[in-house]
Subunit: 366 residues, 2 copies
């Protein structure tokens, strides 16, 4: 018996392939360490649409609400590009985030030393990089009403609404300050307070929460466009970056690319604590469904495996086990294990998705 429950949603494209490697890691923790999980699996995205005509069924949604953590692979693919907006694969993901109220999206951008040369940036600019972007995930312009395309006079008009309440900003800010306390105690908040009233409110509320509750954390503010520049110029100046849904979407991807390989990067999306004290939580790799390499054994499972490491740390309070898993990944990379996406100009023979999973499990056991 275990009191740790996981719902695995492999999704589309390479999702199922990389999730199979996470299964090996989960199994190893159970058999070798006695750390067991109650694992169930279901459909999301295009896979759910194909089976049920919707990118996420109500039954799957209900299951996601019950478990301690959801592990998601990836959604989307060219087969679904022409679907109606309301049933696009991404809507399944957005529904999970919205109904589980996963308001804090944690996007680490870490540069493994063995891979620093894969970055388009100079080694000295990125080696040792370790920043965390906290993107507000359940509000802002991707959710605000009114929205849609309608006709005015004789032309179409497209509308979306950027809308933030004080409470939405406050809880994201608290998550960022809490994170910073466990890291290097610095938060930089990014918005466009110079041209957007929602940015002015964002800055005011962050300042108020800081003054009232987190005076020990170093706080700075930056306009989001300058933030994009500073990430490119000198990313190591940051510890935790706090920003809204839309700016976080762009800035977290910009930061991700600084590290040189998206195949490496995990993410966590956290909400409020449940009855058992664990936060509502979903973990997923940053990379997409990569339809171009689906089914070829070329996918890099590391981002998905590191997402499970984040689950160990943030959902199950297994920080030591998370670190052990992260060290195992670092170890196999230092040993020279490379999937196809990590082939440098020096060449070499890539290992398969499955071989990378096996290597990580072997390193865990060593």
């Amino acid at each position: 018996m275990t009191d740790r429950s996981l719902l695995i949603l492999p999704g589309d494209g390479i999702g199922p392939e990389v999730m199979a490697e996470v299964r090996k890691v989960i199994d190893w923790f159970g058999s070798a360490q006695g750390i067991t999980f109650d694992v169930s699996e279901d459909l999301v995205g295009g896979a759910a649409y194909d089976a049920h005509g919707v990118p996420l069924t109500d039954a799957t949604m209900a299951k996601a609400q019950e478990v301690d953590a959801v592990l998601l692979g990836a959604v989307g693919g060219p087969a679904y590009d022409d679907l109606d907006f309301s049933v696009k694969p991404e809507r399944g993901l957005l529904r999970l985030r919205k109904e589980m109220d996963l308001y804090a999206n944690l996007r680490p951008a870490q540069c493994f030393d063995a891979l620093a040369d894969f970055s388009s940036l100079k080694r000295e600019v990125v080696s040792g990089l370790d920043i965390m972007i906290l993107r507000e995930l359940t509000s802002g312009v991707y959710f605000g009403e009114p929205r849609g395309i309608h006709t005015e006079g004789n032309e179409r008009v497209g509308i979306n609404t950027q809308r933030y309440t004080e409470g939405e900003i406050a809880r994201a800010a608290r998550s960022a300050f809490e994170l910073a306390r466990r890291r290097n105690n610095k938060v930089c908040s990014m918005e466009k307070a110079n041209v957007m009233e929602s940015g002015i409110l964002w800055r005011d509320v962050v300042n108020e929460i800081h003054a009232a509750e987190y005076g020990d954390v170093e706080l700075s503010h930056m306009y989001a466009d300058n933030g994009a520049m500073q990430l490119v110029r000198a990313p190591k100046q940051f510890d935790v970056i706090l920003t809204d849904n839309l700016f976080g979407d762009i800035l977290s991807d910009c930061a991700a690319m600084l590290t040189g390989s998206l195949g490496m990067l995990p993410s966590a999306s956290l909400g409020a604590p449940m009855a058992n004290g664990r936060p509502k939580a979903m973990y997923e790799p940053v990379h997409g469904s990569a339809p171009d390499i689906t089914g070829q054994g070329k996918a890099n499972p590391i981002a998905c495996i590191l997402s499970f490491a984040m689950a160990l740390r943030y959902s199950f309070d297994l920080g030591d086990e998370a670190t052990r898993l992260e060290r195992a990944v670092e170890g196999v990379l230092a040993d020279g294990a490379r999937t196809a996406d990590l082939m440098g100009p020096e060449g070499g023979t890539p290992i398969s998705t499955s071989e990378m999973g096996d290597a990580i499990v072997a390193k865990l056991a060593s």
Copy 2:
């Protein structure tokens, strides 16, 4: 007598210093080439607020509407940070853009070979970089209504509205396709059609304009967050990037920083043709007012001088003269002339703002 009119708005901070160097270039074209300009000068931003209580007077606005081209230095500074939103220095700039209806913001990101090592990116990733971002500048979330901060129940709510009409998208798209025809004939349009209806309309209208009028131009689409990643990963894949106001704000700054020095980058903001055939136009450096170095002779005037080169090309159809000025800038850089912002790790003695202006004029004459 000349039929070429210029309104110079030096603005705040280093604005007046860099504009003084542009004056030298303008004077040289007049005295050495017989290419003369009717030049007037006025206030904008904090300087206008200090004199008149508003960041742009109606009289200055009227003058800007009459001239062929406005040259603007920079606005803003810490003295104005606590002003009411409605009279912040940036509002003066936004008013100019809005009332002149300067819908096409051209942001070149070019990497001068002599300065490629200043980039945080590897030399091979950026050397020879020459991309142009066309940012829609008069609509979108920085202008849409409703906007503001109000109270709902017992909490504040901040709202902005992303709103694009078909016509607004169409004219920006046409500008991008026209630009591409004069460059490498490729346009990549960026939005978030996967999660925003305004992005869906954007993509649809761009496709329609392309099919109807610009089938000879190569068109691709990219989600804006992926665009940020691709700019960092491999910026030379792009020719013209077409995007909206907010995404363009972030992406153009991200692209600017790839080149390694913001002090180098000009911009143009163009509107519809006037009665004389010239477009409504404003030219300005990308850099800000840099209050930390104001009045010390440390500012780099090159961005402002290259902005005047864009004026020569886009307002006055003086492409050869624009190229001559750009070559002069390239020449002084190749000769080793460096303002303080261009000091590399190898050291050396920086020249002043004024010395850089003199060097460029001397190179023009040589």
